[in-house]
Amino acid sequence: MISFGQYRNGNSFGHRLDARVKILAMVILSILIFQARGWEIYLLSAFLCAVCFISRLKFSAVREALRPLVLFAVLLFVMHLFFTDGTPLFPIPYLPVQITGEGLFRGLLISWQFLALALSGAILTMTTSPSDLVCGLESLLRPLRLIRVPVSDIAVMVSMALRFVPTLLEEYDRIKTAQMARGAEVETGRLDRRMKSLAALLFPLMVSALRRADDLAEAMEARGYARGPRTTMHQLSFGREEATALIVLGILLSLVVLSKY
C-alpha cells in the first residue's frame, strides 16, 4: 500500500497547529520553493528541516514518505542534465546529447524543488489528520461561498473520497483474488495477458464503486444530508501557537521578498 505522507498521531507543535495555518504555510512555501534561487535554497531547506524537527517527525518516516518520489527526482535531474542547451562541460563521444553547466544547475534545482514540495506536502499530511485537513480546507475556502461555490459540498466530497480509498483498495484485492482463483494471470505471465487481466479487474471495480456511490448517496440522504452548509464536530481554534507560526512564516516571506529588491 502507498504510504506517502500517512498521518502519524502525535502532540508536537506541528501536530497541534490549526490546520488552516498549516495549509496556508504549505501554499506560501510552495510559492517560495518555486522561485527560490541561490541562498534561498539553503534557507528553505533549513526551514523544512526545522519544521520536521519541531513536528518530531522521525528521519526514517520522512525518508519512507519521500522514497517513492526519489526515482522521479532522479529522472527529472537526468532529463534536464542531458537536454538543456548551453556550454558543454565535456564532450560525450558517439551520443547526440551533451552535458551542459546550465543543465547540471537546472537539473539540481528542479529535483530540489520537486523533493522540497513533496516534503512540505508530506509534513502537512503527516501532522494533520485527514478530518482536520478537510475541516481546515473548508474553513479557508468559506469566502468562496459569496460567489456561490458549494464549499461544504466540496468538503464532504473530499472527505468521502478519502474515506473510501481503503475500502476500494480492499475491494480491488478481493476482485483480484477472485480473478486469480479463476485462472487470471494478474501478477504473473506475459505482459499482454496481464494487461488483459488488469482490464478485467478494473471494470468490476468501477461497477462496484458506482454501486457503492448509489448506496452511499441513499444512506446520506436517510441521515438528513442535504446540499448546503453543515456543521462538523471539529472546532478550529486560532491561538498563540498559530500566531507564532504565522509570524515566523511572515519573517521568512519578507526575507525572500526584500532580498529581491
Partner: protein, 281 residues
C-alpha cells in the same frame, strides 16, 4: 404512528409493481418483523417509511407528516432511522466518531453539542474504544453498531433494520440483537427485515410479504402456525414448529403454536407424563 394507505410503487423502467396497494399501520413502540422471499418488496417498503422513495399512488405518513411533501423530509428522516443491509456503504465518516457526528452536522448543531452527543452515544453502546478508528478496520458487528450509533444520535422514534444480522458471526449477531431488544424496551418502534425464523418469533407482530403485497399480518405465533399448516408456503417456519406440526399430523396432541425449544420440551413432557399417568391408573 406510521400510516401506509393504499401504497403502490414501481421502479423506473421496471414495469413490475414493487409495492402493490399496501395498507398498514405501524404503532410507535411496536416491534414488527417483516419477512418474505428475495425481491418481494421488503426493502422498498421500508424505504417508503424514511421518504427515500415516495409512493406512486397512496399516502405514507409518519406521525402525521406526509412523505410526499419535501418540507417534511428532514423531520421524517429524524423520526425514522434506517439501517441498511451493507454497513460498509452507509458509514460516511473517516473515523467512527465523525461518522456518528454526520447526522447532527446535517441538522447544523454546534460542534460542542455534537461532541457531547457523540460521546454519550459511544458510551451507551460501549463503543468508546472505537471512537478514533477508521471504518475499514472494524469487524462486521462493530460496523453495524457504528451505523446504529449514527442513527440513534438523531433520536429516532422508529428504526427500520434491513437484515441487520446478515453475514455476522454468532457473537456479533447476539450483540446486535440484544441492542435492538434494548432499543425496543426503551420505547423505539422497530421494523426488522429478516430471514431468520428465530428473530421473527421475538417480534410483537409479523408481516409476510410476497410479490409486493402483504399476505399475512398478525401475532408471530398465529402467522407462523398458519404458515406451518400451509403446505404451499414459500417461507420456512422455525424448525421446532415444523417438528410439532409433523407430530400433530401423526396424531400427537401437541399445541400447534410452539415457537421455542423450551416450550416444545415442556409440551412433550406434559404429554408423556400425562400418558404415563393414564397407563398407571
Amino acid at each position: 404512528m406510521i400510516k401506509i394507505q393504499n401504497v403502490s410503487y414501481q421502479y423506473d423502467g421496471c414495469g413490475i409493481e414493487a409495492l402493490n396497494d399496501i395498507s398498514l399501520d405501524i404503532n410507535a413502540e411496536e416491534y414488527v418483523a417483516l419477512i418474505g422471499p428475495n425481491g418481494c418488496g421488503k426493502t422498498t417498503l421500508i424505504r417508503q417509511l424514511n421518504a427515500l422513495c415516495r409512493p406512486d399512488r397512496g399516502i405514507v405518513t409518519v406521525d402525521g407528516l406526509d412523505t410526499a411533501v419535501a418540507a417534511n423530509h428532514k423531520e421524517i428522516r429524524r423520526a425514522v432511522g434506517m439501517l441498511f443491509q451493507n454497513p460498509d456503504n452507509s458509514i460516511v465518516g473517516m473515523t467512527v466518531e465523525e461518522d456518528i457526528a454526520f447526522g447532527p452536522g446535517n441538522l447544523n448543531q454546534p460542534p460542542s453539542e455534537i461532541r457531547r452527543q457523540v460521546s454519550e452515544i459511544l458510551q451507551s453502546l460501549g463503543l468508546q474504544s472505537l471512537a478514533g478508528r477508521a471504518p475499514h478496520t472494524l469487524s462486521g458487528g462493530e460496523k453495524r453498531l457504528v451505523s446504529l450509533a449514527g442513527v440513534l444520535i438523531m433520536n429516532p422514534r422508529y428504526i427500520a433494520f434491513d437484515e441487520p444480522t446478515a453475514y455476522l458471526d454468532p457473537t456479533g449477531r447476539r450483540r446486535v440483537l440484544e441492542t435492538m431488544g434494548q432499543l425496543h424496551r426503551s420505547g423505539i418502534g422497530i421494523i426488522h427485515i429478516t430471514h431468520d425464523v428465530n428473530d421473527m418469533a421475538k417480534a410483537d407482530r409479523l408481516l409476510v410479504m410476497d410479490k409486493g403485497e402483504i399476505i399475512r399480518d398478525g401475532n408471530p405465533r398465529d402467522v407462523l402456525c398458519k404458515m406451518a399448516e400451509d403446505q404451499n408456503c414459500c417461507m420456512s417456519v422455525p424448525p421446532v414448529m415444523e417438528l410439532i406440526h409433523h407430530l400433530n399430523r401423526r396424531g400427537w396432541p401437541l399445541a400447534p403454536d410452539i415457537l421455542s425449544v423450551d416450550d416444545a420440551v415442556r409440551e412433550i413432557d406434559r404429554l408423556l407424563i400425562g400418558a404415563t399417568h393414564k397407563e398407571q391408573s
